[in-house]
Amino acid sequence: MARLFISRDSTALSLGADNVANAIKQQADSKGLNVEIVRNGSRGLFWLEPLVEVETAQGRVAYGPVQVEDIASLLDGGLLDGTQHPLCLGNIEEHPFFKNQHRLTFARVGLTDPVNIEDYIAHDGYQGLKNALNLQPADIVKHVTDSGLRGRGGAAFPTGIKWNTVLNAPADQKYIVCNADEGDSGTFSDRMIMEGDPFVLIEGMTIAGLAVGATQGYIYLRIEYPHAKIALNQAIESAYQQGYLGDNIQGSGKTFHLEVRSGAGAYVCGEETSLLESLEGKRGLVRFKPPLPAIVGLFGKPTIVNNVISLASVPIIMDKGGDYYRDYGMGRSRGTLPLQIAGNIKYPGLFEVAFGMTLREILYDYCGGSASGRPIRAVQVGGPLGAYMPESQFDTPLDYEAFAAIGAVLGHGGMVVHDDTTNLADMARYAMEFCVEESCGKCTPCRIGSVRGVEVIDRIIDNVDKTKNTELLRDLCDTMLCGSLCAMGGMTPYPVLSALNHFPEDFGIETSKA
């Protein structure tokens, strides 16, 4: 029997992976060929999806991108034995885009059957939990602190310090909340983990529960991710069945329960306190801090709120040790960051790599430049609240501090590439418009400032009192930067000002260097 792998990742599905899987099954059946199709996560080379991999004696052989029309010739040509064909890519792990990655958090994504717990365990799954069950809570926290892991959701706050705060907060009930709102445009690494290796997130959350004494976890999942919800719920059910969740985890007497809750299409609910309000069944109004959620969080109890990737990186840290993880990276940015390269780019995908690589290497050496073949003009890194970076900044290494030093943000590691047909004044206007749309309304600089921002940018574009209005825009950005309660209003000026500073010509502003 031939074993095939075809992804169940939403992006693969968006390119027809289900049709390909069904057609292969049907055509193989009608030829009397025996095939088993495993629906795996995606390898993250999205220009090659739908990707079909076949297991052979020499390892897996990949073909892609496969369309339904290709299947007859593939089957006739010996797809099931891994033989040559124009679509044959060989072993995908030898592909330069894959081979040069450091797959720690994503080690299993694309390799295993995402919802098969035996497969997870056979590929080093639950080793981290096993170690954690033999440790005191403070020692688990110490491993995480030693790893140097910083929150991957955007703010890059040291995870170990957050955990320690929750550990030391006395309470009858504590919670672990996974922030799976992944609202940033240009990002999809959380989704790929949840669809491609949900157990690693479940394991990470379970370890977090042991570390701080929390017995209940929630995954706050954005409604736009229906396939992730299905995979998570399948995995959670099987973890309960196998005693990896519940009241007596692996006979240890320890308890951890886990539930998925759906968001409802509000970007601001990715902000941790807004998320907690939403979980409590309220409008997602951002809370004043302090108190920190680590002290007064969900339902008023001490709560860890961590991003999906932060939590999914914990199992390998607990398996191989904090030092192992910390040995990757540069400066104070330790470990790996799963980059997501999207927009106008020839080879879009997920690229997990140690901190330190430059933007230019990623964009040109691995991702092949723009999809349109035109020059890359700007890259927005770090989501809709991240700065637009011009070509002159492409040598910046991927490092939180290096980005911060030039007024940019690495955030969740998403990069959206624009070629020279993009007008950055339009993008600045859009950034303000997005803030109007998504502001929770609690503070004035954000709620009113964004509305004014759209108007002022319109006037600049329309050439009305350009100098005066440009000054006004800078003033307004200053007010939003300094006076907003959260980064929604506080960081909307990043894309706006970076567009204005690096691409003034798009606003019709003469540059002095010209």
Binding site: S10, T11, L13, S14, L15, F46, E49, E182, G183, D184, S185, G186, T187, F188, D190, R191, I223, E224, Y225, P226, R261, S262, G263, A264, G265, A266, Y267, S278, L279, E280, G281, K282, R283, G284, F299, Q340, I341, A342, G343, N344, P348, G349, L350, A371, Q380, P384, G414, V416, V417, H418, D419, T422, M427, Y430, F434, E437, E438
Partner: protein, 158 residues
Amino acid sequence: MQDYQSQKPIVLDILDSHQVMPGNLLPILHGIQDTLGYIPPSAIEDIAKALYLSKAEVHGVISFYHYFRTTPPGKHTIRICRAESCQAMNGKALENHAKKTLGIDFHETTPDEQFSLEAVYCLGNCACSPSITVDDEVYGRVTPEKFDQLIAACKGTK
């Protein structure tokens, strides 16, 4: 619009099954919208009563979230991504094409009640922009031609 009396038992059932869940308002609203396609305004009173909230509070929550709707959707809901990655790949042209083809703007439903059009900000499908969803399915690298095919396929399943 359907008469609420026929929907009420469903709403009460959903309220009943969520009684002991902490933070149950969003799950309840999802349950209702998943089943009925929208949250009937008349349901607000029942929800408020069951949760010991004011009607204003329930209404405030529904209106805060873009996803919840209080009017019946068309037979098919099309969501078009407006966010940056999709913009970088001609998403704006696709948006205009969709509005023109369907003859409606965002948050509207065609007069024949076949299609509702909604804006979304990122579907996590940015590696294959521009992206849309048709009901529960996501589609990548959507050209105007592909959009027309998807619409035609929906009409085929009337």
